[in-house]
Symmetry: C2
Subunit: 156 residues, 2 copies
């Protein structure tokens, strides 16, 4: 039996479920690219949401992935705790207004073999069963700038 949603994350319930769609990316140091994404937000009855994301190319090759947790900071604050397989452990914090989330990096941990990532911002907007996000990135000596954008639809 599925546990009941913890009341501390009731206002984040608009994120719950599986989201699928397509995105695109660009950065001065790499070629432009597109990707297919599947993201899932779940819960276990405790005051956080689970989060996992996977992207792949049009021909099915795994690209990026990330996993972690979404934590409420009261009713208008949000924290994102993320592990990236590229060797990055990241804390993001920010604000929630309705179904609009604005986050920025407050801490980046880099594994000894990881690329030099300085900070990210993440803007997530949910409306009418669709999620749109934009991610900005400061890495490998480049200033903070647009990196990723995707539109996902709610699957389940």
């Amino acid at each position: 039996m599925a546990p009941e949603l913890h009341p501390d994350v009731a206002h984040l319930s608009f994120l719950l479920g599986t989201w699928k769609g397509e995105g695109r990316g660009e950065y001065p140091t790499i070629d432009d690219f597109t990707y297919i994404e599947e993201s899932t937000y779940g819960h276990v009855g405790k005051p956080f949401l689970t989060y996992s994301q996977k992207t792949r190319s049009a021909d099915g090759v795994p690209m990026h992935a990330e996993v972690g947790y979404v934590r409420p900071a009261g009713t208008s604050g949000v924290e994102l705790i993320l592990a990236h397989p590229s060797g990055i452990a990241e804390i993001q914090a920010g604000t929630l207004e309705g179904q609009r989330i604005r986050l920025h990096t407050t801490s980046v941990g880099l594994a000894p073999t990881a690329k030099d990532v300085r900070s990210l911002t993440r803007s997530i907007d949910v409306a009418d069963g669709h999620m749109h996000y934009i991610i900005e990135l400061a890495a490998v000596g480049q200033d903070l700038q647009f990196h990723l954008e995707a539109t996902l639809h709610h699957e389940a």
Copy 2:
């Protein structure tokens, strides 16, 4: 069809699969406790392993969880990239000798609402289908000291 294991993580294949068992914990600031654990290491054909862990009490209540990735650093180094729902994003790095892993925190990121965790060590030994680990913890003003120990058996 399952992808082929990436050759860069072939020497970590002894971790792959699901591990189940029981553990115990103690710390000066809390009561001693026991837990039931399930951990899974997987892969997607890329040069890292996926990792997820969940513990629960004897009566089935979710306790700790963590998710992340295991990265090789050559053939004798290992990195662990972890997100904890308690608001901690952690990098661990260390050594691999045979099926013996010794890791220590190289970076801890704390969410604004997280408890004050300074560092951890993690010793993992696998032999004869069993995994034994010990975790030391420095947190909430306490010195680095024994915190958790579990023995898991390989399920699949």
